[in-house]
Every structure is written in structure tokens, then in C-alpha cells.
Symmetry: C2
Subunit: 222 residues, 2 copies
């Protein structure tokens, strides 16, 4: 399967790109607003993978071209870029493509990190509102520790939660998540259940911040 | 230490009572609006503990009398009873007593379970607003699986998150939590960080509801 990581030069995009390219046979495509940056990062990922004996081709394009080539498109961009990124690629999304949203709104104040939902109610809802007709949205990969994800020496042993209203699209992303070693996909229901999942990310940061020895945390439901 | 579990006849109260009485030497006192019910439940807990070779005395009283006898008072009542329970026991709380709040507002709709914060912003904030002067509030035990907690044969191997603005009170509750086998207390910062913790409980229910083989879930930060 071809997976485009829009904003794939950022930290969560890097982690997903490396894990999919290392653990699976899916073709990973890096998208960025700046195609030169996308190609540079794609080269970096190739070098990292090659140093581990994994010789795969990773291409870098503009977000539009990356989305055009893939059947699963991951919006690994900051929450305030989600809407304009979807707008910029909407002509490149075909009916049946799957749009994946891992973004979470976070604000920091004196007390710690807090969930900062956009007006739509959640970043997931914002994506659903902006997605073209016929392109199902799946929420996934919201609560992953970015640095650990990008470090292939690091065991994950954590869960990721999936939400979608389209069961086939959810199953597609479940299989993609399941392909990453140490990552267990769990079903958290429909898109309306997004806020509680997105709110978990600032909580993970607060817990890491307040406990010595706990860094870059993920979560395990048990 | 003497711990009063107000609403200690309910499911989370039962679990905490049994675990503290079984795993530690703290004295557990059961409170209820109905003292007869409190005594009945306390007898039940004693019988359960005795069948496991643990002969301890558990007393049952009105919430007011239970709070009066204890230095740590746990509000294990439903969120809509939190304010009137505090009001009913406020004359029984002394300066330096610690008030612990595990309650979470949840509503269910067609999509699943959702966090339903009271007007104060969180149940924790509601407790803080209602607590008498000089009685510090600690949020803890929000995300525990009640049935597993009350089943002493069940291993926990999960975390509980602590929030407080008073470090001494937080440390008191951390030690109490740490006394329960298989429960790891983690610091999640100040009381202002409550919402994200409370929102985790409906998420746990949604995940259990949507995944076969996962029931009565807790969470592990790792």
C-alpha cells in the first residue's frame, strides 16, 4: 500500500515513515509544502534505514503530489495547518482514499499542558468537516511518543486508538498500525469519540513532566 | 492512618476499602448517608477479608461520623453527589485533613461515553470550590477499573494519577496509593490539570466496549 505522510518532515511523520518503511513493505511517500525539504528528509530516512540493512526507496514531493500518489494520506501536520493542508490536497484525493488524522490541539499554561480543542469540537471533527466527499476520515496515532517512534532501537509496547465512522477505512488503518512492531491498535469507536483521545496527549506530557525517569510516554490499556 | 470512604458502599469505594484493608495497615472506615447500609457493607468487607485470612475491623457510619474519625477522606460518591456530600461533612473536617476526589462526570450518547464536566470545569474544581478552608484537595483514583479493584484475586498492574496544589497532601495520598499492590501512583501536576485525567475514564470505557477481550480497563503510562 502507498502511504503519504503530509508534513512527513515533522517529528510524528518521521517516526511513522521510519517504522512503516522498516517494519512493513508499504511504500512511504513524504509530503511537505516545500518539495526540496521533503526530498532531503526522504533521503535522510533512506540513509537511516540503509544503515540498518533496509534498502528501500522513499520519495519526497509537495503535499499535493504525495497525496495524489497514495491511497492512505496521513495529516502529520500541526493542528493549525490541518485545514489548509486538506484544502491544498483536496484535488489530489480520490474517492476511496483514506485520510488519517493524528493531530491534537495543545496549549501550555503555568499549570501544564491542556487540551485545546478547535471550534469544531476536536481536530478530528475539523478534519471531517474539511475532507472531500467520499474520502473517509480515520483518527489514529494521536498519543504516540514522537522521539521513541523515530528511534528504531526503541521498543514501543504501547497502544494507538482508532476512531472512524467508516468500518473499511478503520480496518485499513488498523492493519497499517498493526504492521508497526510493538504498536497495538485498539478500536475506540466512532469519530464522535475524538475529544477524549486527543485530550490524552497533553496528559501524557504532564505525567512525563512530573515524574523523574518517565520521558516520551505512550500508553497501554490493560 | 485512618481513611474514611464516603459513599464507601459503592463500587470504587468497595475496591479501595478492600485493597487498603488487605494490603496495608491503614484503618478503613465506611461512610454512607444511611449508616445501616454502611455497617452492612463494612461487615461484608470484613467477611471477605476474613475469608482470605485477614482479620481486620472495618466500621460503618454516616458520612459525617466517618469523616470526623479520619484524617484522609475519600469522596467515592457519584459526581452529582460530590457538592452535597462535602456540605454534609464540612463540620467534620479539621484543618490538615485531606480530601480526595476520584469522581468523574460521564455521559453516554449513541456514539459512546463522553466526559461531561460540571460548570466548575471539572469535578476536581467543583470539590476544590466546595472544600472548607484549610482542607487540601487531592485528585486521585479517577481511572481505576472498579470490579477488578474489588476483586482481590485480580492483579492490577496499572497507574493512578495524582493532582494537588498542596505537596504534603499529595505525598500523603501518594503513599496511600503506593500501598495498594500493583498500583503505581504518578504525579500529574496541579489541580488545574484535572480535566484531561477525568476525560480518560470515558475513554477507557469506550476502548473496553469496542475491543473483545478487554474489560474493566486501567491504564499504564510507559
Amino acid at each position: 500500500m502507498r502511504i503519504a505522510l503530509l508534513g512527513g518532515t515533522g517529528d510524528i511523520g518521521e517516526g511513522l515513515a521510519l517504522r512503516w518503511a522498516y517494519d512493513t513493505d508499504h511504500e512511504v511517500i513524504i509530503g511537505s509544502r516545500d518539495p526540496e525539504k521533503a526530498r532531503e528528509k526522504a533521503d535522510e530516512y533512506e540513509t537511516e534505514l540503509s544503515s540498518r540493512g533496509r534498502d528501500v526507496k522513499i520519495n519526497g514531493f509537495t503535499n499535493e503530489m504525495a497525496a495524489d500518489r497514495a491511497s492512505v494520506v496521513v495529516l502529520s501536520v500541526p493542528p493549525y495547518h490541518v485545514a489548509d493542508t486538506i484544502e491544498s490536497v483536496s484535488g489530489s484525493l480520490s474517492e476511496g482514499d483514506v485520510l488519517v488524522t493524528p493531530a491534537v490541539g495543545i496549549k501550555r499554561d503555568d499549570d501544564g499542558f491542556h487540551y485545546h480543542a478547535p471550534k469544531a469540537g476536536s481536530v478530528t471533527a475539523l478534519v471531517t468537516d474539511a475532507a472531500p466527499e467520499g474520502v473517509p476520515v480515520v483518527g489514529a496515532f494521536h498519543n504516540l511518543p514522537a522521539a521513541r517512534l523515530a528511534d528504531l532501537d526503541s521498543d514501543l509496547d504501547i497502544d494507538t486508538l482508532l476512531i472512524a465512522d467508516d468500518d473499511d477505512a478503520k480496518e485499513t488503518v488498523r492493519l497499517l498500525a498493526d504492521g508497526i512492531e510493538g504498536l497495538r491498535p485498539l478500536d475506540a469507536g466512532g469519530l464522535a469519540n475524538a475529544s477524549e483521545i486527543e485530550a490524552l496527549t497533553p496528559l501524557l506530557i504532564n505525567v512525563a513532566h512530573n515524574n523523574k525517569g518517565l520521558n516520551d510516554l505512550g500508553v497501554r490499556f490493560q
